[in-house]
């Protein structure tokens, strides 16, 4: 689950990676991940290239490895699924530590884990080097519908406020000796969820009133940010270029 607090995502530094316009970074990461996902099944060596490219970005951006590893916990549920694959897959089987596993399943699980992990690390690097507001700005530059950007902006503004309200409710519950232990106690959690919804909805209405009071007439201002220069795009292209080349080379090798 995506725990933690939003303001801890960004790691403050003044590096080349941090300074790149957000729209360039978004496109770079997306292209990188597409290249990784498109790697042919039989190829193994391209993953070394991908991992090396990400490691280079992490070093350039001065993002410490322990931080990246800590945030990789979002991957855990998926790792469990990947570990099940070799057990349930068909085909010739091998024994690993006394458990019969499918050979093709083992290979598939390995590839899945590699691709998934590279995607997660790329996203972690993006969030660690780009302020949330700048990411929204990048999406706006990339022509995401205005209304969607605005909803995300409001969500991002209020998520901390809502989490703080939920935290106070939890403290109030636990102060009276409550712990969620069985299904019967779901009623208490649901009551908190219901109260939280009412508070969120009412706050949404109050925010709307505050907007109207300052002359809102249905049009929100767009976020202001610099346009990307061609040099920015060239710098940002380094990461996906390495990945695309490796992936294409692997396809070429398969085709021969």
């Amino acid at each position: 689950m995506s725990g933690g607090h939003t303001h801890q995502l960004y790691v403050e530094h003044e590096t080349l990676v941090h300074r790149l316009p957000p729209q360039c970074k978004l496109i770079a990461v997306l292209t990188f991940v597409i290249a990784v996902v498109s790697t042919p099944r039989s190829a193994v060596w391209p993953y070394a290239v991908y991992a090396g490219a990400l490691a280079a970005v992490a070093v350039l951006a001065r993002i410490p490895a322990p931080l990246i590893l800590r945030r990789m916990v979002v991957e855990v549920p998926f790792v469990v699924f990947a570990l099940l694959l070799p057990v349930i897959s068909r085909g010739p089987r091998v024994d690993v530590l006394g458990v019969s596993m499918s050979e093709s399943g083992l290979a598939a699980a390995g590839i899945l884990l590699a691709k998934g992990t590279l995607g997660v690390v790329a996203s972690i690097l993006l969030a660690a080097t780009t302020r949330p507001r700048d990411l929204l700005l990048g999406l706006q530059h990339l022509r995401m519908p205005q209304l969607l950007v605005q909803i995300m902006t409001f969500m991002f503004r209020y998520v901390e406020v809502v989490l703080a309200e939920m935290g106070r409710m939890r403290v109030a519950r636990e102060s009276r000796g409550f712990r969620a232990r069985n299904l019967g106690q779901l009623r208490v959690l649901a009551h908190s969820a219901g109260a939280l919804f009412i508070r969120c909805f009412e706050r949404g209405e109050r925010v709307h009133l505050a907007m109207l009071s300052r002359g809102y007439s249905g049009r929100l201002p767009t976020l202001d940010g610099a346009q990307a220069r061609s040099t920015d795009w060239a710098v940002a292209a380094c990461l996906p270029a390495a990945a695309v080349l490796a992936s294409a080379a692997a396809w070429f090798a398969v085709g021969r």
């Binding site: 990784v36 979002v74 997660v120 969030a127 519908p145 232990r181 209405e205």
Partner: protein, 227 residues
């Protein structure tokens, strides 16, 4: 669980991406029709609510816990259009800011966790409402049923996508059976918490619950006796 990168192959991911874009476009229009110039602040706050409520862990079976997916809950509370929109925004934020769910799998995740859960959950809820007595309290079991069905429905669509574009050779029949079984269990947790949450809101602010609009009484008109 958010589908990560590489789970579903590129062509199928592209297809789900297109479905997600089309679905979002429809929901943006639908939400704006309902909320007008309130759309951005209200949908933003409801998305923040969904994000927060997904962190509420509840016990599923001995020693394991699950968390709410919230698609059916969102659809029942704010309507299917706004509901899909809010859950999709949560998924976008989770993928972009928290690395939870792959960027190339964003379309797949929106289809599974926003479109399928909200549409299935809402449809089942409305069908159940039509069968149950026409009183406000009927919404609680109706919403619970919607939530119960929405979880295995999303799991089934996931298995279907995995069969089409998964990168492993798995026995489809057994996986369908296994996934459905496990997700009916998870669905019971989702159903319980959805029903109870809807019930607790109905008790305080029934006017806020979208799916309870059908129980609103028309204003009474008293005719003056003819003279």
């Amino acid at each position: 669980m958010h589908v990560p990168d590489g789970f579903i192959n590129a062509p199928v991911s592209l297809a789900t991406g297109l479905v997600a874009v089309a679905g979002l476009a429809v929901c943006l229009r639908g939400a704006q029709r309902e909320l007008d110039d309130k759309t951005a602040p209200l949908a933003g706050l409801v998305a923040a609510f969904i994000f927060a409520v997904q962190m509420l862990n509840f016990p599923v079976a001995v020693g394991t816990s699950g968390h709410l997916m919230g698609g059916a809950l969102a659809a029942v509370l704010v309507g299917p259009y706004t509901g899909v929109l809010c859950v999709s925004v949560v998924l976008l934020v989770q993928a972009l800011f928290f690395a939870d769910g792959g960027l190339t799998a964003l379309g797949t995740n929106i289809v599974l966790m926003a479109l399928v859960t909200a549409v299935v959950g809402y449809t089942i809820t409305v069908l159940a409402q039509a069968v149950l007595p026409n009183v406000r309290g009927s919404l609680v079991p109706a919403a619970a049923l919607g939530a119960l069905v929405s979880v295995p429905a999303a799991a089934l669509v996931f298995v279907l996508l995995f069969a089409l574009g998964g990168n492993a050779d798995i026995p489809l029949g057994e996986v369908v059976a296994g996934m459905t079984g496990v997700h009916v269990l998870i669905g019971i947790g989702e159903a319980t918490i959805t029903g109870l949450t809807v019930g607790s809101i109905l008790a305080v602010r029934p006017d806020l619950v979208y799916a309870a609009r059908r129980y609103r009484q028309d204003l009474a008109i008293h005719h003056a006796p003819a003279r």
